[in-house]
C-alpha cells in the first residue's frame, strides 16, 4: 500500500532512471545500424581498439604488481609514517586525472627528472609509453584501495595458523592470503582495466591526441568530435559503453 511519501520517492527515482536511459540509449541509437557498423570497422577505430587493449593490459598488470605489496604492507605492517603514506596513496583518488596529466607532463618534460631521462635517450611525453604511464598513475591508487580492502577482510589468524604449521611469512602470504584474496583481486583487476581503457584527461595531456599514433578509444572520441565526425565518435563511445557494461 503506497503512501504519498513512497509514491513521491518512487516517482523521482523513475524520472531519473528514464532520463539516464534516454541519454545513453539515445547515443547508441543515434546513427543507423549500417553507419555504426561502418564506423566500428573503420581503420581508425580498429587501431584505437587495438591500442586501448594493449596499453590497458600493460598498465593494469603494472597496477597489480605494485598494488599487491603496497596494499599488503599497509594492511599488515606497522611502520613510521604510515598515516602520511595513507594520505599520499589516497590523494590521487580525489585528484582530477587532468591534473595528474599536467603533473606527469612537467615531471617527464621540463623537470630535472625528465631532462635526465631524455639525456639517457628515454623520452616519454607524447609516446605510446606515455599512455601506459598515465593510466598507471591514475589507476594504481584505486587498485591499492580495492586490494587493501580485500586483504583487510582476511583474518590475520589464518596467517598465524599457517605460520605455526610451518610456513614462513612469505609462505603464509603465498599459500593462504593470496588465494583468499583472489576474488577481491579479480574485481580490482576488472575495475582497473575498465578505468584504464576509459582514461582520458591524463592520457590527453601526457600522450597528446595524435591520430593513429596515441589514439586510444577516448582520444578517438575526442578527435572525431573535434573534427565533426559524429559517427566515428559515437562508434568509439559505444565500445566504451559495452566495456562499462561488461565490467559492472
Amino acid at each position: 500500500t503506497p503512501t504519498i511519501f513512497s509514491a513521491t520517492f518512487l516517482a523521482i527515482s523513475t524520472a531519473l532512471l528514464v532520463f539516464m536511459v534516454a541519454v545513453i540509449a539515445g547515443l547508441v541509437l543515434y546513427p543507423s545500424l549500417p553507419q555504426l557498423i561502418a564506423s566500428l570497422t573503420s581503420a581508425e577505430i580498429l587501431f584505437a581498439i587495438q591500442l586501448s587493449l594493449i596499453t590497458s593490459a600493460i598498465s593494469t598488470a603494472l597496477c597489480i604488481i605494485i598494488a599487491v605489496p603496497v596494499a599488503y604492507a599497509m594492511t599488515r605492517f606497522s611502520f613510521p609514517g604510515k598515516s602520511l603514506a595513507n594520505v599520499v596513496v589516497n590523494l590521487p583518488l580525489s585528484l582530477p586525472p587532468l591534473v595528474a596529466g599536467v603533473a606527469l607532463l612537467i615531471f617527464f618534460g621540463p623537470s630535472l627528472v625528465g631532462t635526465v631521462l631524455r639525456a639517457s635517450g628515454i623520452d616519454i611525453v607524447y609516446t605510446v609509453t606515455a599512455i601506459v604511464v598515465a593510466q598507471f598513475f591514475v589507476n594504481v591508487p584505486y587498485m591499492i584501495r580495492i586490494t587493501r580492502s580485500a586483504f583487510e577482510t582476511i583474518n590475520p589468524r589464518y596467517e598465524h595458523v599457517a605460520r605455526t604449521l610451518g610456513c614462513s611469512d612469505w609462505g603464509a602470504f603465498r599459500q593462504v592470503t593470496l588465494p583468499l584474496a583472489t576474488q577481491g583481486l579479480v574485481a580490482g583487476l576488472v575495475i582497473t582495466w575498465s578505468k584504464s581503457i576509459g582514461e582520458f584527461g591524463a592520457v590527453l595531456l601526457l600522450a597528446g591526441a595524435t591520430t593513429m599514433k596515441t589514439e586510444t578509444l577516448p582520444i578517438a572520441v575526442y578527435l572525431n568530435i573535434s573534427t565533426g565526425e559524429l559517427n566515428e565518435a559515437i562508434a568509439a563511445s559505444v565500445i566504451l559503453i559495452g566495456i562499462a557494461l561488461v565490467s559492472l
Binding site: 583474518n155 589468524r157 589464518y158 598465524h160 595458523v161 599457517a162 605460520r163 605455526t164 604449521l165 610451518g166 610456513c167 614462513s168 609462505g171 599459500q175 593462504v176 588465494p179 583468499l180
Partner: protein, 349 residues
C-alpha cells in the same frame, strides 16, 4: 617444561603485564578470564606471532621467544576454526605436513589417522564451509595435532559451538589429552571448562595473572572478589571482620557469621548457593553458621530452583525440584539455613 617469566606485550588496546607461569610437560592448563584480559595475546606470544616487549619464554631451559612460530613446535586452534576455506578438510589437516616436504602417501596416512581420531574421517573431501561448527573445530584440532607439536594452544575452542556439541567436544578433549599426553594450554571464559578439563589453571584479569591453582582451589578459595564473582559466587555481603585465633567473626549488620580467615576490618563475604544447606528443622552438624529464616522467594530455573531465605540478610541457596517437593517448601515458611565456616569466602573490601 614451558617457563614464562615476566612477559609483557602491548598490542593496540590489549596488554600483558609481567606474566609469569610454568606449565609442566603433559599438563592440561587452563587460562580463565573475561574478554580483554589479554589471554589471546599471551597465547599468540607463546606461539611466536608477536615478539614480547619484555620477559622471556623458555622451553626446557632454552629461550624461544625470538624464534619463528614454525620452529617452536606449537599447534594453534582458534575459536573461529580458521580452516583455510580454499582447501579441503584433507588439505587443511595435511597443510603442516606439506610444509615439511613429506611424501604425499605418508601425509595421506597421517591425515587419515588424525581425522579418524577426531571422528571426521568421512569428511576429508569436503570444504570447510560445508561443515558444522563442531566438525570444523574437529578438523582444526586435527590440523594442529598432525604436526605432533609439543604444546597445543587452544583459544576458546568451544565458545562458538552450541551447547550439545560443546559438551561432546569437551569430553573428547579429555580423551585426546589422555591419549596424546600433549601439553595443552586452553583459554576460556567459561568456568565449566575448568572442572571438566583442567589439571591446573590460571585466572587472568587486565593483562595479569591473579591466581594459579587447581580448579578446586580457584573455585573454593578465590583470591579476589573479582574471581569469586567470575566463578559464579552469589550471596556477596559487606561486613566488618574481627579475627580471634584461627577464625573470624564477621558482623554483617543484622547477623554475625563465623569464617576461617585472617583478614580484619571491612570485608566482603561470599557464600555459594550450593554450600547453603536448607532444612525444615535445625540440623546437628559441625557447621558453625546456622540461622532460622523465612523463605521469601523460590525461582524455578529448569534444572534447579533458587531459594531465597531472609535470615536478617537475604541468603540464596539452590535445590533440585525433587528436594523442594520432598521437603514441601513454599514461600513464607520457616526453614533453617546452615553453612560451614569454611564455606564463607572473605575478601578485603
Amino acid at each position: 617444561m614451558l617457563q614464562i617469566t615476566e612477559l609483557s606485550k602491548t598490542l593496540g588496546s590489549f596488554a600483558l603485564k609481567g606474566v609469569s607461569l610454568s606449565i609442566a610437560d603433559g599438563e592440561y592448563f587452563i587460562i580463565l578470564g573475561p574478554t580483554g584480559a589479554g589471554k589471546t595475546i599471551l597465547l599468540e606470544t607463546i606461539a611466536g606471532i608477536h615478539a614480547p616487549d619484555a620477559g622471556s619464554i623458555t622451553m626446557d631451559g632454552h629461550e624461544i621467544s625470538r624464534m619463528e612460530p614454525k620452529e617452536r613446535g606449537v599447534g594453534m586452534v582458534y575459536q573461529d576454526y580458521m580452516l583455510f576455506p580454499h582447501l579441503t578438510v584433507e588439505e587443511n589437516i595435511g597443510f603442516g605436513l606439506k610444509q615439511r616436504s613429506i611424501d604425499p602417501a605418508a601425509i595421506r596416512k597421517q591425515v587419515g589417522e588424525a581425522a579418524e581420531m577426531l571422528g571426521i574421517g568421512h569428511l576429508l573431501e569436503r570444504y570447510p564451509g560445508t561443515l558444522s561448527g563442531g566438525e570444523q573445530q574437529r578438523a582444526a584440532i586435527a590440523r594442529a595435532l598432525v604436526i605432533k607439536p609439543r604444546i597445543l594452544l587452544l583459544d576458546e575452542p568451544l565458545s562458538a559451538l552450541d551447547v550439545t556439541t560443546r559438551e561432546r567436544l569437551r569430553r573428547e578433549l579429555v580423551l585426546i589429552h589422555r591419549r596424546t599426553k600433549i601439553t595443552i594450554i586452553h583459554i576460556t571464559h567459561h568456568f565449566e571448562d575448568l572442572f571438566a578439563l583442567a589439571e591446573r589453571a590460571a585466572v587472568m584479569q587486565n593483562g595479569t595473572v591473579v591466581q594459579v591453582g587447581t580448579p578446586e582451589e580457584i573455585f573454593k578459595r578465590p583470591h579476589t572478589e573479582f574471581i569469586a564473582n567470575f566463578t559464579g559466587m552469589e550471596n556477596l555481603i559487606r561486613g566488618i571482620s574481627t579475627v580471634h585465633d584461627t577464625e573470624a567473626s564477621i558482623d554483617l549488620g543484622r547477623i554475625t557469621v563465623t569464617a576461617l580467615t585472617d583478614i580484619e576490618g571491612e570485608v566482603v563475604v561470599g557464600i555459594r548457593p550450593e554450600e547453603v544447606i536448607i532444612s525444615a528443622g535445625p540440623i546437628a552438624s559441625g557447621a558453625r553458621n546456622s540461622y532460622r529464616g523465612v523463605i521469601t522467594d523460590i525461582r524455578p530455573n529448569g534444572m534447579f530452583s533458587w531459594v531465597t531465605i531472609d535470615i536478617g540478610e537475604p541468603l540464596t541457596g539452590v535445590l533440585t525440584p525433587q528436594s523442594l517437593a520432598t521437603m514441601n517448601l513454599a514461600v513464607g515458611e520457616n526453614v533453617y539455613a546452615t553453612f560451614k565456616a569454611s564455606a564463607v569466602h572473605v575478601f578485603a573490601a
